[in-house]
Symmetry: C2
Subunit: 429 residues, 2 copies
């Protein structure tokens, strides 16, 4: 083995791990620095599970921590997943051994990013995570390196392909959430336990990392406000469309004088907006900077091919021996994450009330909103088959979240209102 060769240890052999093995077998000399990538060790939960790639010839490690520590490889690739447990132990072991780490693990970095960045930077080795956000779209590199000459104000987009697929299918086929989810699980687009995706947590991990890269603050998953798509009713997808909107799971991070607001919400995007037009499993992101203006990036957010390509790009970066801060600035200089009170944030909203079909209801709802200080932008009443009562839907002008919540409480208490009002935010994009 010549000295320019790089020995790679890979822990975790699911979809991405198998894709990476395939990639490295096809293109061992992919790096522009001239070195060959040689897989010198693998680890996974099961050695014998059927895989698209034969691992019989590769040195096997039962324990990923051992693989991370062994001097027999130069780069440790962590594709195990999970915010704690073996993934965290192995990444820490590799960094402690002074070994560069490449990971696709958004949960790990969203929870422990600042601490791991400090460890990596103390040891002087790179910790790279391109594959953690937007699959093959180099969103992390764009934020960390490409936009380092700007002050970023906000990032917002669609970061979870599974949710986007489900919402797209619900609208296209007119089927309910549970039906489409079951299909997605059968097709392998959703996990057996879909909570991480449909609960909005995966998108929240990713926007937490983008916020850290954008604003130079420590990742703070606990500060993210999270709502998933599991409560989305087909009726809202249809009524929103009647009002000129499409429902998307939008993850956003905004910086203001008060601090940073990180949120994941099912949100309405105007039908002609690029976010509304990013269908299926696509990911899409707007980045707004003081100097660069608005940049938009879009691409497949998951899958073995794109994600393995992103891991390979990180491996190539390690081979150049360049070492940059893990997030936007050195770990020791990361600003504390100051969360903004979301109740003070301003925004437009979509509200649906199921009401009794009787005279005076519209008047009661609109008077209550007016008294609460919520100004109506558009209004739609439309009979819906098989529904309990009649839906009234409306969009509001920009209003403080606390005012909106108080108004919803008052309306929920009206005798003509049959169920808890449904709130969807209109994306600020």
């Amino acid at each position: 083995m010549s000295k320019t060769d790089w020995r790679i240890g890979i822990a975790g052999l699911g979809t991405v791990g198998a894709g990476l093995l395939e990639f490295l077998a096809e293109k061992p000399g992919f790096s522009p620095t001239g070195g060959q990538a040689v897989v010198t060790g693998v680890s996974a939960r099961s050695r014998t599970r059927p895989r698209p790639f034969d691992i019989a010839g590769l040195p096997w490690f039962d324990d990923p921590v051992e693989l991370a520590k062994t001097p027999d490889n130069d780069i440790f690739v962590e594709l195990i997943g999970g915010s704690d447990g073996p993934a965290k132990a192995a990444v820490e072991a590799a960094l402690n051994a002074g070994k560069p780490v490449v990971t696709a693990n958004k949960a790990l970095l969203a929870h422990h990013g600042a601490e791991l960045a400090r460890l990596a930077e103390t040891k002087g080795v790179p910790l790279l995570f391109e594959a953690a956000v937007m699959g093959g779209v180099p969103a992390v590199k764009i934020m960390r390196e490409g936009l380092v000459g700007d002050d970023i104000r906000s990032v917002a987009g669609i970061l979870n392909g599974t949710c986007n697929y489900i919402l797209t299918e619900m609208e296209a086929t007119g089927r309910a959430f549970a039906d489409v989810l079951a299909d997605a699980q059968r097709l392998g687009y959703a996990e057996a336990d879909p909570t991480m995706d449909v609960g909005g947590f995966d998108a929240a991990h990713k926007i937490t990392l983008l916020a850290a890269l954008a604003f130079g603050c420590a990742p703070n998953f606990a500060a993210a406000e999270i709502e998933g798509i599991d409560q989305i009713d087909l009726m809202d997808i249809r009524l929103a469309k009647d009002l000129g909107y499409r429902v998307k799971l939008v993850a956003s991070a905004e910086r203001s004088a008060d601090g940073v607001l990180v949120r994941v919400h099912p949100s309405l995007a105007p039908l002609d907006h690029p976010l509304a037009q990013a269908g299926g499993a696509l990911n899409a992101l707007f980045i707004e900077g003081q100097r660069i203006g608005r940049i938009f990036v879009q691409g497949p957010g998951a899958g073995a091919g794109p994600t393995a390509a992103a891991v390979a790009a990180d491996i190539a970066d390690v081979m150049t021996r360049s070492v940059r801060p893990v997030f936007q600035r050195p770990a020791a200089d990361l600003k504390p994450f100051t969360p903004v009170d979301p109740s003070k944030s301003m925004g437009r909203a979509y509200l649906r009330f199921m009401v009794k079909d009787e005279p005076g209801v519209i008047a009661a709802v609109s008077e209550t909103l007016a008294e609460a200080g919520v100004s109506i932008e558009s209004f739609l009443q439309k009979p819906v088959e098989k529904a309990d009562g009649v839906p009234i839907v409306l969009t509001t002008h920009a209003v403080a979240e606390s005012v909106l919540m108080a108004a919803i409480e008052r309306i929920a208490n009206l005798s003509s209102v049959l169920a808890r009002p449904r709130l969807l935010r209109i994306a600020r994009i």
Copy 2:
């Protein structure tokens, strides 16, 4: 001055140069590596020309080559422009002195990229050019580093903001090319001599560089097929819209088994396509790779802010001391650029014929096309006020360029056809 400070020499103080001075004055410590950027020398054609930024306190060099060579700076930034002359001389001088170079000069690299890459790599110093393509969108970094784990098949997009602005204005206001161009010149969106932009040459420089990054071949500007927007008639913008398309100046580079095809053409994009929706001075790019699928990026393609931010990102890269090949792979390994004969390429087309308003014309045109082997997809005849004759417009199914050209020749010779048929390509996107 502490040893982590970086001394910057800047040659060329036009819009981008002034923007960079402003940026470095505001954020001298922008780099995540901890060094301060200090401007230790400037050079421009005129020392006294009014500028938005006062340069009186900065060391002045009459000759950019002297600025490039002086040991008093560590990084040379070339913002002079032009493929030869002082820009080339200064970049060569800096590289020969073993000094990292950052440039926004697409013409220089499109013409002399392989030779300059060889020089930079021999000297072991970076030659970076993020600001040369798509302004603040880090398209070069995406291609060179972010997608290095993939095999790129094609790149295609809108790379010249001036042309995009003019086309957008023509459609929106119904004014002719010359009128809108004159306005754009008055507003500073177009140069006094607009040939570089409206002739398609600027877009061709940029797509030449993207092709080199995408396919690992030496940049070869001479091989680009170039058509600008200076012959675009308002009538075609309107008729194309009737057929569901918008006219855009599309630059594309495609790789096939035979070689690489690099083209810049006014082209038709379907109205609901992201390229059709990128209006005004926006730039937009599709990148298609074997593993990553299709990635789309969009943002402001020019202006002092975005471009200065891109230059600053390159300066930050230099500060990390990472040295990568200038294009996709080491200069010595760049593949020779093998151009594909464009006459063999297949594509759909929009054709407009001005004909005499007399019986049998449609039959004559459509028979001639059929005999030549061109199959019609859609057809529109529509009277147009103040036009010489009546326009017939049609779109074809995919056809070899040589067959299409032969058919156009035959139709041009029909007695009922009044003027040379107008051909616009339908973008393959």
